[in-house]
Amino acid sequence: MSSREAMLQKDFVVREGGSFLFDRAGEHRIFTPEDLTDEQRHIRNAARQFADRSVLPRIDAIEGKEPGLMRALLEEAGELGLLMLDIPEKYGGLEQDKTTTMLVTETLTRCASFAVSLGAHVGIGSLPLVYFGTVAQKERYLPRLATGEWIAAYALTEPGSGSDALAAKTRAELADDGTHYVLNGSKQWITNAGFADLFVVFAQVAGEHFTAFLVERDTPGFEVGPEEHKHGIKGSSTCPLVLTDVAVPAANVLGEVGKGHRIAFNILNVGRARLGTGSIGAAKYALRLAAGYAAERAQFGRTLDQFGLIRAKLGDMAVRIFAGDALGYRTAGLIDKKYAALEALSPGPDDDDFQNAVEEFTIEASILKVYGSEALDTASDEALQIHGGYGYMAEYAIERVCRDARINRIFEGTNEINRLLLAGTLLKRGMKQRVPLMKAMQAVGKALAGGAAPALDPAGDRLVPEQEQVHRMKCAALYATQQAVSRWMLQIEDQQEVLGALADVLIDVYGADSALARTLQLPADGPAAAFAADATTLFIEGARDRVFTRVKQVLCAALSGDKRDRAFAELALLDHWRPIDVFAVRERVAAAVVAAGGWPL
């Protein structure tokens, strides 16, 4: 059975984007790493084998940008089939679901330079063609991209426009005879530019219609500048482009003139989800390096992994990874399921199906991007700390992993932009009644005004206190949102710190909800159940503290005087601190990590 068929068969309900805030945890089955098919695991093993045998042993040469090496490795990956997962069978691909793509990404990120190069090729480089290309464009380019014969790049950013991508200045003028466009301008920090053959270049037609073009490298006037010297992912190619009267055939307009933003944003959504899961994969690698080192290094007559403060770090990393896996695979599953459902409704090559499926989960994809990249930063930083001074030395892999981690908070939309986007999207959808935000906020407000927290009907009898805490976190999120919306109405868009706080709350809620749902789905007596339950308890307790702090900050910003006091009295009905011996629970999680020498699941 293909993973797509499996996905349709299992009872994963198609949910709307943002519904995690309104559904009861455990109400609907979510996709989890435990649901991967044998075939997907097999593909993961193939990718892992490739990373361990072909990529990691050449890491120094890769990081030193040995000429031709990255390109050769990509071709090797192409021979193996690692570049064809997202490409339709018709055009020489394997047409796998997003879950499979993310699984592969997760495995490759232990070598970040390579993973970034591969990701830029198969993701932002090739996907615009897959989803927006004409038949002729696909026939011309996709089979070559599928094998790695050609490598793709994506050129959106310019010196003057990064986050504000639509302000790009590169111009495209239609020639008098209408056969081609003439492009002029410059692009910056384009991944793979050093050796890519095909570039998706964004430019303003007639100075105002934002449009994507397919530009071949050897087009006259198209110049690739020198490699940048970077802080991390040093093995990846990052160069500027200069376009001087580059003639691009009109047939190479990708999508419609003036609709470039749809391509840019939808493709970024997929990229974000991929980046998030990739980051969790790298965090697992950091955990393995840390656990391995801690088992070997002795101080004061004991190995480091016997010290409480070191074990605490290992435990904390594992907790973050557990929730990251849960929310990452849940998001992949949501996209795949929605896509499969849309396809089933209107079979055939209807490009809108994919865009709609991806757009639906903008909030989740942004959460995954922010959560994954920040979890990785903390994990790699703590893993370096466990190495002490040795971790600061280039000889140790963790030194590179730490540097490589940093980029993830910057590209594919900075984490600030993603925070604004995810909170803003929820509010917009609420106002348009696309999600039941208004109703849910009113229900919480009414219950609290009546002097009681809204009641929860738990899903089964496992982890009931945790279910209750997640429920209360959601209520608090809704309560803060309501107060903020009543205070600022539509002007809330200008309240970046409030939106940022709400985004933090949503990230924690999605993480807590996903970790809980994943654990509730595990067989109660299975080998992973105890570890999962401990990790879930810890994540929820940490998230709860953060959520209530942020909610209180929002209330203080939105309200003053009596109103504020009343709001705090109402919030107190939800704010329930549980006396848990966090050290003891974390110790059990750490023990599992130490015993496994890394990520234990």
Binding site: E39, A46, L82, M84, E296
Partner: protein, 253 residues
């Protein structure tokens, strides 16, 4: 040519393992499995011979339903089909395994080569290939580091690494060969082949189908011991410090 390849699933040799409470087996809760590396060499060699001489490569595996994933991994490398004989791991020893392999060989007919890994990295018994050859009355060439087949002559030339040099044997086909690590480098399974493997046939047989009645084991595992715990290692700052420690602590110098 028709080539059978014995293909065994083992616990991932790189994984950390625990023993069961009674210390007679490895605790298999949540361990990862892999194909035995020597079996991968055997399969790789079979695939190369097939590429050169045409024919068919058939995997033969012994175990329960749960070894299917490992069998699929072999099919993804390029084997044409597989035979799985249903039997519990605990109910097997080398001798019974060899008798089962011999029975499958007879079922299959017209086999030219039966290639085994020289040993499985779990039990390290290094005898199933030899025993199978004995039960079938076939010539055997063990620990092969190079194999060449002359179909017209009905002969295989096998180079073996022996103490202090190489030995070259010629064996008449059909024959049993066991593969050493240096024989070849097993190929990666390609993703499209992983998909194709899903559709390849895995024939399922049980001991009744093979008319094997005597299932008594000749070997019993009495007990397993874990290796002594390693003391914490230490990273030394300089060559001098290393020499000092080798001299005074390890007393190796």
């Amino acid at each position: 040519m028709k080539i059978l390849v014995a293909f065994k699933r083992v616990i991932d040799p790189d994984a950390r393992i625990k023993l069961t409470a009674d210390k007679t087996a490895v605790d298999t809760e949540s361990v990862e499995y892999k194909a035995n590396p020597f079996c991968e060499n055997a399969l790789e060699e079979a695939l190369r011979l097939k590429e050169e001489h045409d024919g068919e490569v058939v995997l033969v595996s012994l175990g329960g339903e749960d070894i299917t994933q490992t069998i699929r991994a072999g099919l993804a490398m390029g084997a044409d089909r597989a035979v799985r004989v249903e039997i519990e791991d605990k109910a097997l020893d080398s001798d019974l395994a060899a008798r089962i392999f011999a029975a499958v060989y007879k079922e299959e007919e017209d086999v030219d080569l039966f290639i085994f890994g020289k040993q499985a990295v779990d039990g390290d018994n290094n005898q199933v290939g030899q025993l199978t050859a004995q039960y079938l009355g076939l010539p055997q060439a063990c620990f092969a580091s190079e194999v060449e087949v002359d179909e017209d002559a009905g002969e295989a030339t096998v180079t073996r690494e022996v103490d202090g040099g190489l030995e070259t044997l010629a064996v008449k086909l059909p024959a049993v060969i066991t593969a050493d690590l240096r024989l070849n480098t097993p190929r990666y399974a390609k993703l499209p082949d992983i998909m194709k493997a899903r559709k390849k046939e895995i024939e399922e047989l049980d001991l009744d189908d093979l008319e094997i009645e005597d299932t008594a084991l000749k070997i019993e595992v009495v007990s397993l011991e874990e290796p002594p715990k390693r003391k914490g290692g230490e990273i030394v700052g300089s060559v001098d410090a290393l020499v000092e420690k080798l001299k005074n602590e390890a007393r190796a110098l």
